[in-house]
Symmetry: C2
Subunit: 138 residues, 2 copies
């Protein structure tokens, strides 16, 4: 359980690859897709999501492509994951306690909050800069 989807995995690979590039260099989607071994059409969808929330900047037309929206040290893995997978929710009652009648007295409920905080805490400590370290090719 608790498994990251392919989409999430691809998203991370893609943006980490971008983070390994020099800042302000525009990168073709096709180039990224090939480098990280992801179906280009699928990665396109993912980068569109990134673009909407500003995690990456996109440029259309000739000479277009993608670049990182912010400095890699200011983008956390948590942001990336939540951008494409949605919030970290170990159980639905965590985000919406009224979903479950039992939430008011349930002893399990707080455990899921603890799990959520734990996972978020780990992912929040990791930045794209660290993740890209060592994989910078030109």
């Amino acid at each position: 359980m608790m498994e990251l989807t392919r989409k999430g995995e691809y998203a991370i690979r893609g943006i980490v690859h971008l983070a390994g590039k020099p800042l302000d260099s525009v990168c073709l989607l096709s180039e990224i897709a090939a480098a990280v071994d992801v179906p280009p059409t699928f990665l396109a969808k993912i980068f569109q999501q990134f673009s909407k929330i500003g995690l990456v900047k996109s440029f259309r037309g000739t000479g277009g492509g993608f670049m990182l929206g912010r400095a890699p040290e200011n983008i956390t893995l948590l942001e990336v994951v939540e951008a494409v997978e949605g919030p970290i929710i170990p159980n639905r009652c965590v985000i919406n306690p009224s979903d479950c009648d039992r939430s008011s007295y349930c002893n399990v409920h707080p455990v899921w909050k603890q799990v959520q905080d734990g996972v978020r805490g780990v992912l929040e400590q990791v930045t794209l800069k660290e993740l890209a370290a060592g994989s910078s090719k030109s």
Copy 2:
């Protein structure tokens, strides 16, 4: 992401209910299902899984039913969850690094191990005894 399935949620509810009963009392599946608001046929499947690994003991025929396999303070939430949901795997490379060519140099890989350990750590600290506290009726 990271969401527990209904099956997992039901499993917890069911076994916690059982843990709230006096030890050595046999409990009907139908009674449990009604008490925790789960489709009886579905809960049956879940308890069969529990039974196979000894988390609960089952008795067939007239006067049959289920009872907890061990004392509730010796059963952790982690065991219950993993019994029905399988191991906690934030990403497939965690359980089988050879799945991914990149695992040898990937900087993301260790983060998922950290997440895994974190989640397991939380769930391992919680026992059925604590979860059942306060919900003992008869």
